[in-house]
Amino acid sequence: MSIDKDKIKHISKLARISLDAKKTDTLAKDLSSIFKFIEQLNELNTDKTEPLSSILNEPLRSRGDVVNDGKIREKILENSPQKNEEFFVVPKVIE
């Protein structure tokens, strides 16, 4: 399937990545050739095949919901691009 510029604009919006016109063009070309390659899979009949989502034979384990570190607020905030006292700061979201 060929992927046109409108499709690229749509998925880049879903993925929250802004693209300029030149990038949109290149990506439309790249993705079209990649999907042509991917679509070889249509040669295979998989009507009777179960999908494989995990190669592990057992179900995923869950662990107890317990605090095992905690009290690391300051450490976590150290990596934030913008902070104010003990809060992450983001652009205004409520008018």
């Binding site: 993925a15 899979l41 995990s54």
Partner: protein
């Protein structure tokens, strides 16, 4: 250059254990080599000072009953290291300093090793040539302007150039085995779940697996032994008893059955690689193994299925990079949404964007069944192929890559030709099984070529043993003119 840095990990560990050398001496020798890394560009962060301090501390109070006593080790910059910058080769994480340690690196430190530095890699481990790193290309020590492979390219380059005695990488579609093959080193991708993924920057969670990269098979067994083990913090970690891979290493492989899959003889494969494969068969036969022709009929569909599954998982894993809690944030944008969009546009490189968009598309409304579900079904067929084959054979022998190392820029503008590099390595990740690449010869340009051994789930010991037997007979030698030091 000190002769010490040419020695294998096992030799260095034994010399330290016998108190014939000190950790400080070892560390100093590697630091000396690392100081000349500029042209190779294999390091993103050097930890020379802290490594020397740790070496001195070790020498004051040596603990010699560990697997890696007083050994400095540089690791791929995809493993979170507490208090040391962890970039994943991306502008997005250029200044990210984790406050926790990945389980795998922690396991190494618990065995007596310490951090020597963080190694360059493709951005978020997406690439096969180390050309997608925000921190620049890595050169292959075998020749100038040649790629080391990827995504663990910095790891392979630093190891081959004697800048670290051993290292660790991650392998989602071949990212340990392909660079090992391109640099004449040994690389192992363990069974999915054998090594914890906790604290590794995620790419495609159902495929990612950490593994050792070493000078020889004996070192590989030692490193795997130090790395492997159950981890409660990784819900896909396999709960099993630890194995003594290095102690149980043997070259006695008489009677083992080795499968040769006809589908791996691909069109346009260089004659040299065919010859290498034939030689591999002969060597294993001479060691007493039996060669059996097998078929893995769905091999050609592995790569297209991978390019649905891996980008899909990547697009959801990388959704966390939004410029709010950590990492890069763009200064442009008038509202929250624009801030997200500009952050991700400026923070991610082209290949990462390409894969996020592929993944977003295959998971978007109306396309899920046609792509993602289809790929999962094909993944089942690939796994069935291996299950059938392993009813007849113990291990499968293939070439590691369809070519030797290529020039920088050669495949950069054609994503498909770049992706085809992983044609022999990707099926293994889809099936979650282990595989090892060992150096097995050279092409006409004297560039190294690797052979791959693929095993049943959790059959790492057998893989290592066969690789050990083959290594002895192959007697691979590589001399480097150390062009990057001139």
């Amino acid at each position: 250059m000190s002769e010490l840095t040419k020695k294998s990990l096992t030799e260095i560990a034994n010399l330290i254990k016998k108190k014939e050398i000190k950790s400080e001496e070892v560390t100093q020798s590697f630091i000396k080599n690392i100081e000349k890394d500029k042209k190779l560009n294999s390091f993103i962060t050097k930890c020379s000072e802290s490594a020397l301090k740790k070496a001195k501390d070790f020498d004051k109070k040596p603990k010699l009953d560990n697997l890696l006593p007083g050994i400095p080790i540089a690791v791929k910059d995809l493993f979170c290291t507490s208090g040391v910058k962890t970039t994943a080769g991306s502008k997005m994480l250029e200044n990210f300093i984790p406050n926790y340690e990945s389980t795998i690196t922690n396991n190494l430190w618990n065995e007596g090793a310490f951090l020597l530095g963080k190694l360059n890699c493709d951005e978020y481990a997406m690439g096969s040539s180390n050309e997608t790193s925000y921190f620049g290309n890595v050169m292959n020590p075998i020749a100038e302007n040649t790629v080391p492979g990827g995504s663990s390219g910095g790891s392979a380059s630093a190891l081959a150039a004697d800048l670290t005695p051993a290292t660790i990488g991650t392998d989602t579609g071949g990212s340990i085995r392909q660079p090992a093959s391109f640099t004449g080193t040994v690389g192992l991708k363990p069974t999915y779940g054998l090594c914890s993924r906790w604290g590794i920057v995620a790419f495609a969670s159902s495929l990612d697996q950490a593994g050792p990269m070493t000078r020889n098979v004996e070192d590989c067994a030692l490193m795997l032994e130090a790395m492997a083990g159950f981890d409660e913090k990784d819900s896909t970690s396999i709960n099993k008893k630890k194995e003594n891979y290095s102690k149980n290493l043997t070259d006695k492989i008489k009677g083992l059955k080795i499968g040769i899959p006809k589908e791996y003889r691909v069109e346009g494969m260089p004659k040299e690689i065919d010859k290498l494969w034939e030689n591999g068969k002969k060597i294993l036969k001479d060691s007493g193994a039996e060669i059996v022709d097998i078929s893995l009929p769905n091999t050609k569909y592995a790569l297209p299925a991978y390019y649905i599954v891996a980008p899909a998982e990547a697009s959801s894993n990388l959704a966390r990079y939004d410029g709010v809690k950590y990492g890069f944030r763009s200064s442009k944008g008038n509202n929250l949404i624009e801030m997200y969009e500009n952050t991700r546009s400026e923070g991610f490189g082209d290949e990462v964007k390409r894969r996020i968009l592929i993944g977003t598309y295959v998971l978007s409304s109306g396309y899920y069944d046609a792509y993602y579900l289809k790929a999962q079904k094909v993944r089942q067929l690939i796994k069935n192929d291996f299950d059938q084959a392993f009813k007849k054979v113990d291990t499968i022998l293939t070439p590691s890559t369809p070519s030797s190392a290529f020039k920088i820029g050669e495949k950069k503008d054609d994503p498909i030709s770049m992706y085809l590099n992983d044609i022999f390595t990707v099926p293994v990740n889809l099936a979650g099984i282990p595989a090892i690449s060992i150096p097995a010869g050279h092409d006409n340009n004297k560039f190294p070529l690797g052979l791959q051994l693929i095993g049943k789930p959790l059959d790492e010991q057998k893989l290592l043993n066969i690789a050990f037997a083959a290594e002895k007979k192959i007697n691979f030698k590589q001399t480097l003119n150390r062009w990057w030091e001139k």
